[in-house]
């Protein structure tokens, strides 16, 4: 999982191939956009491609495919924090305070007398 020597060994060919793959994925992203998919499908496809591109950058250019345990530990906490941030928008839909539409009909009836 991690290198014993503590040093990453450069692999020029791999870097160039990943760079080329990233450029190809960018072209695919723009090409898919020209097709004019429905919004949910377009968002799904674009984000899947972005996640694939991001993973390649992190794994190869940032050497995360071959890193030390402490770095992985820090990143697990980061991912957890990031997931919490991504769930925050959900709370905006769960919060019904101040929206009279959610008041029970019986309570509304009682309030009118």
């Amino acid at each position: 999982m991690h290198s014993d020597s503590g040093h990453h060994h450069p692999n020029i060919r791999k870097y160039l191939m990943i760079g080329a793959a990233l450029l190809v994925f960018t072209v695919i992203t723009v090409a898919v956009n020209r097709v004019h998919l429905a919004i949910p499908a377009a968002i799904t496809v674009a984000l899947i491609i972005a996640v694939m591109k991001g993973s390649m950058v992190a794994a190869v250019f940032m050497h995360l495919s071959d890193e030390k345990r402490w770095i992985y530990g820090a990143l697990v906490l980061t991912v957890l924090g990031f997931l919490v941030l991504m769930t925050v928008p959900l709370f905006t839909t769960l919060d019904s305070i101040g929206t009279p539409i959610h008041v029970a009909p019986a309570a509304q009836h009682g309030a009118s007398h």
Binding site: H2, G6, H8, H9, P10, I12, Y15, L16, I18, G19, L22, L23, T26, T29, V30, N33, I39, A42, I43, A46, L47, I49, A50, K53, G54, V57, A58, F61, M62, K68, R69, W70, I71, A74, L75, L77, T78, G81, F82, L85, M86, V88, P89, T92, T93
Partner: protein, 194 residues
Amino acid sequence: MHIPYTIEERPDSGLANGKLGIWLFLASEVMLFGALFSTYIILRTGATEWPHGELSVWLGAVNTVLLISSSVTMVLSWAALKVKDFAKSRLYLLATFVLAGIFLVNKYFEYSDHFRRGEGPWHSTFLAIYFTLTGLHGLHILGGMIVMAYFLGPGAGLWKREPEQFTNRIEYTGLYWHFVDLVWIFLFPVLYLL
């Protein structure tokens, strides 16, 4: 004064100070941009309408190509140092710096076009989050360029005194730079395409 673990790794973590430091910094950066992406989702899902086609997809795509290319040149700059080829490393670092500069010039044209039409951040919710996200990202590009300029100029002297430490510094600069590239990989589809 000798600062330990700038070159050699700590026996307990297996890491040099700078490597752990830059990753902790990047973790805080994930939280910063994560909070703004979360804000984007709240604004977008709460909006009654969301504009499409406001931005130039081609200019955004060109900037994506520029940043990806700069990530490649950045990692090649570090790889050249690993085989002790300082001259080639400088060339790749300079290429990274130039590509970053062209990215900012493109961004300047995009921004000035918006302002010429009176479309500043105050114009709409979309433009408010667009300027916030791309502005913060642009500042990160500028920060990276300042660091690169330092290593191309006064900071280059370290190579003669401590080549391994210099190589480590270029690696950490690269980690930051790849993160800036990674953020843009998500910003491009989110702001320009969807």
